[in-house]
Structure formats: C-alpha cells, structure tokens
C-alpha cells in the first residue's frame, strides 16, 4: 500500500484505516500504531534528560521519530509526560539529568506516600480537595498550571504530527479507576491489606473520587479543541490477575464500567489500555456497545482468546512482546506479526504490547511495519 506523499491525504488514509478497524469493518490493510515514548528519544538521538522534562520538546522528538517511520498509521500519544504520569499515581518520577544519569529512561519512585487516614480525607474533601494540595506539598507540582502547560503541549504535539500526516490515536484525561492511584500511593501490599482490613473506608474514598474524575474526563473531551480519536482508560493493577471476582466486582468493575460509559456518551472511542492478564473478565467487556471501544492488551492477556470472546463487539489492539522487540530478530518479529494479523482478521490494530520498549531495535520496528504490507 503506498502512502500518499501529501500529508493531508496521508492523514486521511491512516485515519480511515483506524476508523474501519474500530468499526469492525474491513480496512484496506491492518493498521499499525505505536506508543513510542522513550524509544523516540533513543531513535532520533535526543537527550533523554530533555525528552523527559520538556513537554514541548518531547512532542518535537516524537514527531521526528514518526517522520522517520512513515509506516505507522498513528502515534498513540503526542507527548511524553513522566512527571505527570507519576503524579497521578501519587508518586515521584526519577528522570535523567535530574535524578538519573543521562540516557536512562525515567523510573517511577513508588513508596508509601499516603497514609491510611488519607482515605478519610479523600472521602471528605473529594479527590481534588486532597490531590491538589498534596501534589503541591509532596511533588512540588502546581496542578492547575501543570494542566494548562500539558494541554498546550499536547495540542502542539498533535498539530506537529498532523502536519506530517500522522494522526494521534489517544489522549489521557484521567480515565481509569480510583484503585490505580490509591494502590500506587499506598503501595500495592499496603493497599491489599487495606482492602482486607478497612474495605468500607477505601470504598468511601473511591466513591468520593470517581464522580469527580468522570466529570473531569467529560469536560476535557468537550473542551478539547481537537476531538480526540480515543480517550485513554489505562488500567494495570485493576486487572483480574490481581483480584478475584469478589474484590474485583466491588472495587474495579463499577468504576471501570461507569468511566467507559461516560467516555462513550461523549461520542469518543474508549481506549481500553488494559495491562496484565484480563482473560477471566473478558466476557464482561461485551457489555459495552459494539464498535465503541478498543481492547488493547500487553501480551499478558491471551489476545486470541480476546478475539474469540470480544471480536464481534470491539476492535482489539496488541501485542508484539517487549522482549521480542528489544532482543528478538526481525524474522521473529515478522513471523509473530504475520501470524497475529492472519488470526485476528478485521477489527484489529497491530501495536507493541503496551509501549514500544525504549531499547527496541530499529530493525525489529521495521519488521513490524513490513508485516502489515501484504
């Protein structure tokens, strides 16, 4: 398939391909996209320190990486925002140049940063009543001005990509479950203990948080100057691999369901970026309307099982394994992708499992891109 040289036409062709896949129709070929993250810095030889700390620059570097790899149909995210990623997990980020040697990808510094009593504070003041002063005090992040900067950088990044004919696939507005942030801020082991010892207090905090998050996500979609292709719902610790049916039904599903429904109500695709193994609860995801979600898996879920269970309801995206992209050979990657494309049929988007590893080999990335060409 030749890509038009005119960026506007290329953009249209790529977008149409993704739309067809999401609508479970037949695209002209399998779309292939990537959340390239720190890989972009390594790929174009940009200093990791600046890539990790300068939002606008991360967008520039991301666009440069995609320009060099025109086979991709979309960039999953337009910018990299490690400090913010950590903040929403109530954590600090260590980044190159500031806390780590140059060249090192960022590292979440996860510690017990909130106390048991903070559940009650959240229940009383709501999430933002807790989070805004907390982030200022503990992370030195002024939430409102950070969000302004972040929105500006995302818009600029999205435009930069569009100018070279590359759509941006998703945008994160805070769509998830309260469990993700709380389990990170408490640490997973403390959090699990809290669920056993003080479940009602944990739930009260979640119930105070979630409607606010839904409000923020809805507002962000409405106010967004460019309508996003999809909105990110990122879950990892909420996965059924971590929690049995009893806990999952109480502490994950109601929040997950209402968040996804809210996004769909706003007329955008819900990007179910679900790390870890979701096999057990795949049937639940059938409850969402046909063609309204993409189930993105990270090689821990059995992607072929996902196809079997969800294939007639939603598009599936994944899942070239990280280790294969970093340490495998182009032949292995090509064979893996070809088999996947053949088995998944329409309603499928090829992508790395979760993010592109920072140290993926360029020849392996190329092999992935070649695999979609018949």
């Amino acid at each position: 398939m030749t890509t038009p040289t005119n960026p506007g036409q290329a953009y249209g062709q790529r977008l149409a391909r993704m739309k067809a896949a999401v609508a479970l129709e037949k695209p002209d070929r399998t779309p292939v996209i990537s959340w390239s993250d720190a890989f972009c810095a390594n790929h174009v030889g940009a200093p990791m320190s600046r890539f990790s700390s300068d939002l606008i620059y991360s967008g520039e570097v991301t666009a440069r990486s995609f320009e060099l790899l025109p086979g991709f149909d979309a960039a999953e995210m337009a910018v990299a925002e490690p400090d913010w990623v950590a903040a929403v997990f109530l954590s600090k980020m260590k980044i190159a140049g500031r806390d780590l040697p140059e060249g090192t990808p960022w590292m979440v510094d996860e510690q017990e940063r909130i106390a048991e009593s903070d559940y009650d504070v959240i229940a009383e003041r709501g999430w933002f009543g807790f989070f805004v002063p907390w982030a200022q005090q503990n992370l030195g992040i002024t939430v409102p001005s950070y969000i302004q900067q972040s929105i500006a950088a995302r818009i600029e990044g999205t435009k930069r990509l569009a100018a070279i004919g590359v759509p941006t696939y998703t945008v994160a507005f805070g769509g998830g479950t309260p469990l993700e942030a709380l389990s990170a801020g408490r640490t997973m082991s403390r959090f699990v203990r809290d669920l056993h010892r003080i479940p009602d207090r944990v739930q009260a905090a979640m119930d105070a948080t979630h409607p606010q998050m839904i409000g923020v996500v809805k507002q962000a979609i409405r106010e967004s100057p460019v309508k996003p292709f999809s909105v990110f719902v990122g879950l990892a610790r909420s996965s059924p691999e971590f929690f049995g049916p009893k806990l999952w039904d109480r502490f994950v599903w109601p929040y997950l369901k209402s968040m996804v429904e809210a996004i769909i109500e706003e007329g955008v695709v819900a990007n179910l970026h679900f790390d870890s193994c979701w096999d057990r609860e795949l049937p639940r995801l059938r409850e969402f309307p046909k063609g309204s979600c993409v189930f993105a898996c990270d090689h821990a879920t059995d992607i072929r099982l996902a196809k079997k269970i969800l294939g007639d309801r939603m598009c599936i995206k994944g899942d070239v394994p990280s280790a294969m992209l970093s340490y495998g050979t182009p032949d292995e990657v090509r064979a893996y992708c070809k088999a996947l494309i053949a088995d998944m049929g329409d309603g499928f988007i090829l992508s790395p499992a979760c993010t592109m590893p920072a140290n993926a080999k360029l020849e392996n990335v190329m092999a992935m891109l070649e695999a979609v060409e018949a």
Partner: protein, 209 residues
C-alpha cells in the same frame, strides 16, 4: 501444631493469626512449631492460588501477614526455619517493579527458604556483598524491563568475575523475561513463577540428603 493458626493463615485472617501467635508464645510453644503452622497455612494459600480460588491480591495479603507474624517471632526464629537453604533476592538496578519479587519472597519463605531481600533498584555491588556475607545457595534477580536485561547480564558477569559463581545458582524472573532473555543474561534458571524456585530448592535439598 496449631490448626487455628494454619486455618487463620489460610483464610488470611490477620487479627486471628497475630492473636494466636501471641497466645502460643505465651504458653511457651517453640517458635519453630509456630512457623511450621504458618507454613502449613501458606501451603494452603498456594494451593488455593493454583486452583484459582485465590488471586495475586491474596498472595500479597498472605505475604503481608507472614511478614507481620515474622516480626512477632523475630529473625532468629524465621532464619532457623529456612532449612532448604538461602536465597539472596532483589530487583535489578534501575528497575523498581517489586510486586512479583515480594510474592517470591513470601512464597519461598513459607516453604522453608531463608530469603535475604535486598529490595529494588539493586546495584551489582550490593548483590556481591550479600553473596559474600550470606553464602546463599542461589541468587534471585527480578527484572521486568527489557531496558534492564543488560543490567541483569552485567550483574551476573560481575558475580562470575568475582569468583562467586561456584556452587551458586542464578535464578531470574519477571513478566517479559523469557527463556531467550534468560540465555542472554546468562542465568541458570528462568522462573515463570515462585513455585519453580521452590521446586529447585526442594530438588537440591533432596539431592543433598
């Protein structure tokens, strides 16, 4: 053997576990006997996990209770219960994933392995120091990031270069670390889960007996 204790451990009832330990200690029950009741409970936890009755959160919870119980019993007693041998364990330098490592720690400890946990983001020098100090049967390196496979390899090379590999097995594990990666880093055994390491320790003990 206290069946109240093993049942409470298996049911993840922390309050009962801690109260029962205090009661047993008060009545002069030897620590090793208390630990073996706890281990019996942990074995049931492991079994329920295999049967998909329990999930990771229950394994994590059992680890929490086991650690709390360990505090009441003291390190001397828990060390003495490590009859299968010693494992020096840590997450490799520049990697902070520790959920899996912590599960490995408690599963092994509950099967009679003495575990020296070095934490996360552990530089090779710390592994070397711990090997020299504790003379373990094995070193366990957890790594979930492909960007850190090189650090695992370098760590193993340093262990070799320091002449510490003789009679020492190197076990590695972590989501994306597959057999091919295991060969790349130079490990002896890639462990998809904690039980593989338990089996290794058991086989080794049986061979020595």
């Amino acid at each position: 053997m206290s069946s109240v204790l093993s049942t409470a451990m298996a049911d993840l009832d922390e309050d009962v576990v801690l109260a029962e330990i205090a009661r047993l200690q008060g009545s002069g029950t030897p620590s090793l006997e208390i630990i073996s009741a706890l281990q019996e409970g942990m074995a049931i936890v492991g079994q329920k996990f295999e049967e998909k009755d329990y999930f990771l959160s229950e394994l994590i919870m059992s680890a929490e209770i086991f650690n709390e119980a360990g505090k009441l019993l003291g390190t001397e007693a828990t060390d003495a219960a490590g009859t299968l041998g010693t494992l020096v364990l840590g997450t490799v330098h520049q990697d902070v994933h520790d959920i899996g490592k912590n599960i490995v720690r408690s599963v092994l400890a509950s099967h009679g392995v003495k575990v020296i946990d070095l934490g996360v983001d552990v530089p090779a020098a710390k592994f070397l120091e711990a090997i020299r100090e504790h003379r373990p049967a094995a070193v366990g390196i957890s790594c979930l990031l492909t960007t850190c496979f090189g650090n695992v390899k370098a760590c193993i090379e340093e262990i070799d270069a320091a002449g510490l590999r003789d009679g020492l097995k190197i076990l590695v594990g972590g989501g994306p670390l597959d057999e091919a990666a295991g060969r790349y880093v130079g490990a002896d055994l890639v462990c998809k889960d904690a039980m593989i390491a338990v089996d290794w320790f058991k086989t080794r003990a049986a061979a020595a007996a």
